[in-house]
Symmetry: C2
DNA sequence: TATAAATTAGTACAATGTACTAAATTGCAC
DNA sequence: GTGCAATTTAGTACATTGTACTAATTTATA
């Protein structure tokens, strides 16, 4: 394991536990038992750490989506995919608490719009395929609204979870939010699709 | 206008524009043309400023809800009420970017659970009344889900707005998010209720 | 007028992010 | 094994920040 990835891992752990602003670069170095100078050799600025962690998060998301796309459309597998996306976000929750700094680097050093564009494109494709496969039908609820909802949900839930349920464990948080999102799917699931929802409710 | 309220106003403006962490206590004092010592006379810690602003936000929300409750249930008025709630959150957006610090004071010096409890109670009452008055009917979409959705939405939207649309003006942001929430109401609006939704879509 | 509240100006301190240097160690291609 | 580059250490330095404190002055108010 390279020092660089050890740094990323430890920094993320500290960010998750104590928050980004409560974690200084000297704290990270101490936790790794390396010198602060060495840390700044790999990451000149604290922001670079943030960016690297965000890239890691983005990469994780891409992989999860790609894997879903690799097989035939299936509502049950899509819900599992969403669950994996939530877990990935939870694993990187520490950086989402630094909204202030996130906002500062978005558009400059980190292309957030790209994440967002991809997300919506994936969701759109997936929902359309699930419509064709007969798992979903959009009559009462508009497809474009469901895309909006899913995009909104996936962007926000982790922030709300950190604020509202800081004491809950990952597993509890996951069931809570999966249940929430599946309730929305229940609006558009066909009889065929209903079966996939059960295990989440 | 008291110095205390001038401080609150200026601090909030700076927080909204540059973020909480980018705004130092010395900046606030300079913007007000008062001495830093004077500022710390009114607010010993920066956190106290945050708490005072949150109280102001909470108070604003309470007033908006109370005013709605003062008249007969009406879907159109409820949507206007939601719009006012969004505006109040937007006016205090600066502090919501300080998630890290918010999380630190929640449960200790600021009763966030109370805000949340009230919010859900209000929403519950309002929806039940609107069901009785025949504006809403809960068949395909569960009432408890709509409560979850509205609570979730009202907690999160401002954070997502600050991250995703930092360049948009208040008016544009408001129409975007009102449109989003009204789409969900469309699921449960009766024929009578439909009329209220039109102006937001 | 007297007392309290408010305000100013200044100092101090620990912690932080950032930047830099010089020397030592390690890894690796030749 | 030698030599070079990458890595790591240790240390210094600086501006900024939140916080805390003092003494003196001004303002408001009973």
């Amino acid at each position: 394991m390279t020092t660089r990835s050890r740094i990323l891992q430890t920094a993320l752990t500290l960010f998750n536990e104590h928050g980004m602003y409560q974690t200084g670069v000297r704290d990270i170095a101490r936790a790794l038992d390396i010198s602060p100078g060495n840390l700044s050799y790999h990451f000149a600025r604290k922001e670079d750490l943030l960016i690297a962690i965000l890239d890691q998060y983005k990469h994780g998301n891409d992989e999860i989506y790609q894997e879903y796309m690799h097989f035939e459309p299936d509502l049950e597998r899509y819900l599992q995919t969403i669950s994996r996306l939530l877990k990935n976000a939870f694993a990187h929750r520490g950086v989402f608490l630094g909204l202030d700094e996130l906002r500062a680097i978005f558009g400059k050093e980190y292309d957030y719009a790209d994440v967002e564009r991809k997300r919506r494109a994936f969701i759109d494709t997936i929902l359309s395929d699930l419509e064709k496969s007969g798992d979903l039908e959009f009559s009462t609820l508009d497809k474009s609204f469901l895309i909006d909802f899913l995009a909104f949900f996936q962007r926000c839930w982790i922030m709300e979870a950190m604020i509202s349920y800081p004491h809950l464990e990952e597993h509890q948080i996951m069931t809570r939010y999966m249940r929430f999102v599946v309730m929305q799917f229940a609006q558009v699931a066909t009889l065929k699709g209903q079966g996939a929802l059960g295990r989440w409710l």
